[in-house]
């Protein structure tokens, strides 16, 4: 037995030495900004950066900011909600509105519910709410995995903290990432292979810490200069069916429970809720049953479905790529949903 333990210890030790070194590097450099606390998790001036977990970043920034700012207006959604700019939204809100963009990459209905519950439990106010939804978000009734999507422990009363930290450490150990990251740290150079494979990002961006709003004016400038829609970028705009296609129903029992909970919290807060069903490039219309359910729960006058074949989705100029629509579209949608308010 002793021999077995000694051999196993020796084998593990030899193997663990590089792992221990990497763990030390990981803790010191904290590439995903999940070990230490930061005043801001996004630095617009950085030469290049590692994509942070947006759920964690939004949640932690909200916790930090809410010590000094009394937010009462929230935008919830996935990265498709990023282009709903606070400055545009504020035009439709009462003057005393204090806005926060509480988004997450690949947001799920499950995590959105957690965010609404979290604000409620913390005693926050939700007077104005803009929910930017789509079929993909509505379909997700369980927590997502992966370092870019895992839910912030703060939203789950730290129940998933081990899983959360493990996910990031394992993401750091992914050889492709590790090589690119250490190469960048050692040389200070951003090489094409790093950005090509999304190991690091260096697309210029703006960020407002108070509202947690990200801006990509760089893309808009390129569009204005007619340099954006290159042949390569155009290749992502695939051909779509000519006839209206509908998504399969995604609001099932679990989704109904989550939506009812979200609705009851909004009701408690007497929130002015507006729901946008995003005009996605795929032109698939939200299933009629799902739309009817949302309208029945939140009120017909509060749910606005822009999915399917329409003026917005027909024109590729309204999109950066096949997934995200541009700020002028969001601006136009907000004009519609707050019209006659």
């Amino acid at each position: 037995m002793q021999r077995f333990i000694v051999q196993l210890f020796r084998f593990s030790l030899i193997g663990l030495i590089p792992l221990i070194i990497l763990a030390i590097i990981y803790v010191i450099l904290d590439p995903f900004k999940v070990i230490r606390s930061y005043s801001s998790y996004i630095d617009p001036k950085a030469k290049a950066w590692v994509s942070v977990n947006k759920d964690y970043q939004s949640t932690t920034t909200f916790i930090n900011n809410s010590k000094t700012i009394n937010y009462n207006s929230f935008i919830f959604g996935s990265s498709r909600s990023i282009y709903y700019q606070i400055s545009d939204w504020k035009k439709h809100l009462p003057a005393n509105s204090s806005c926060y963009h509480f988004d997450a990459s690949g947001e799920s209905l499950w995590a959105l519910n957690k965010k609404v519950e979290f604000i409620d439990k913390k005693g926050g106010k939700m007077e104005n709410v803009l929910l930017v939804l789509d079929t993909a978000l509505l379909a997700l009734d369980k927590p997502k995995k992966g370092h870019l999507f895992i839910t912030s422990p703060a939203l789950l009363e730290n129940d998933n903290i081990i899983e959360f930290q493990k996910t990031f450490f394992f993401a750091f150990l992914q050889p492709k990432f590790l090589y690119a990251y250490l190469d960048f740290k050692l040389t200070g150079e951003v090489k094409p292979y790093m950005t090509k494979n999304s190991l690091l990002d260096n697309k210029p961006r703006g960020y407002d810490l108070t509202t947690n709003e990200m801006r990509f004016d760089y893309f808009e400038n390129l569009i204005r200069q007619k340099k954006f829609y290159t042949k390569k970028r155009m290749s992502v705009f695939y051909k779509r069916p000519r006839f209206q296609k509908y998504s399969l129903p995604v609001i099932k029992e679990n989704q109904k429970m989550l939506l009812e909970n979200i609705h009851s919290i909004f009701k408690k807060h007497n929130s002015d809720v507006r729901i946008v069903i995003s005009p996605l490039y795929n032109q698939k219309k939200l299933n009629e049953k799902d739309l009817a359910y949302l309208k029945n729960l939140f009120g017909t006058e509060r749910v606005f479905d822009f999915s399917g074949i329409n003026k917005i989705t027909n024109d590729y100029n309204n999109y950066y790529e096949a997934s995200h629509y541009r700020p002028h579209v969001s601006r136009e949608l907000m004009e519609i949903i707050y019209k006659g308010k």
Partner: protein, 482 residues
Amino acid sequence: MLFNSINFAIFLPIVFLLYWFVTNKSLKAQNILLLTSSYFFYACWDWRFLFLLMFSTLLDYFTGLKMQDAKNKNSKKFWFWLSVIVNLGFLAFFKYYNFFIESFEAGLSQLGIQINPFTLSIILPVGISFYTFHGLSYVIDIYKDRIKAERNFVEYAVFVSFFPLLVAGPIERATHLLPQIKRKRTFNYTYAVDGLRQILWGLFKKIVIADSCAFFANEFFNNSVHYPGSTLLLGAIFFTFQIYGDFSGYSDIALGTAKLFGIDLLRNFAFPYFSRDIAEFWRRWHISLSSWFKDYLYFPLGGSKGGTWMKVRNTFIIFIVSGFWHGSNWTFLVWGALNAVYFLPLLLTKSNRKNIDIVAMGKTYPSLDEFLRILLTFSLTVLAWIFFRANSISHALSYISEIFSSSLFVIPRFAEMKKALVAIALVIFFVLIEWQGREGQYAISHLGLKWKRPVRYAFYYALILALCWFSGEEQQFIYFQF
């Protein structure tokens, strides 16, 4: 708790250390530790179903004793059937209730009769098919006077719920496992190292091979209408390796883990994809289940002793029941029936036991004849797996018809081509390692034993590195759902 999870990586060393350092003086204490840790292991999945496992264990324990002590045949028969009916009743309820109800409704609707069936939202208790079969083999063996009933409850409960085999087998026999549980175990260095090696190889099969293949198998099967026949064929091959890596990987981890506790479990896989005919394949695939059906179903039905009709009937029964055991879907039944069709010519020509040795034993390469036979058997297996993986029979048929269309000759094009090439390279590496190790209990059981320690360690570290590289996209073990 999954074998490929951090939780298990913490759980296993703790139980191992307690087993050999704290409870090693007493067999009773060791067995109590194994039982409590097994129940904890199971409760980590869903504690509510632990009561079902306990009930099943108690039922078989008491009916076993009642049969043993029965004063007449009728009384023995009563207790036997009570156990069989209750065990199969639970299995039928949890696994097949909705299937039967929905099939009944579909059948009536074909006749123009509409009913509003009462379906239930039933969660399938993990491992129910496995521990039910454990228990059944025990009561059948007592009924047939092959074994005596176990009077020590803890020892019997460990036999049913020993955590390495609890959720996905191998399906053990009381004659094999119970004597080991009753016997004092002493630590054996070589055996424990072998166990660790087998765990490592099992993890490699699961995380590196099965999960890499799963990515593409899922994509091609879930979106089969968008892909040409060539890509769908690739998808079927990916699934063929996914299910093998997944299930045999699980079995390797189970066997390796049991070895750490000085317990030898039944071998479940013996390089099935190197089989030269379908009969050999079934002697090498999920061995513990095949032999269970053979001993407790095929032989009682008369086996191959009767006339031709009886042989055909029994072959179809055993394969269809085996298919049905895997899940409540018609696809599994067709999969079973198709294998029966494959098997039948061998049985009728009495050549089903032609290939009982290891292929190309002692040689580096197979002969051309052997190679072609392996290729043919493999191709038949790939075809059958399409039914196993498809969502419905119509899905399987459309999948197969696309493969056998002119689009089979279209060059496959899909997203993540590079990733697919990596997966193909891994599968080739895997097949080569399996081929060289086919004479052992598992592929790397003898690989590198004569190498110098640094080289051997480097090989193991390379496997561990591969595990780290490919971890993060783990899929659930396929056989957990059965």
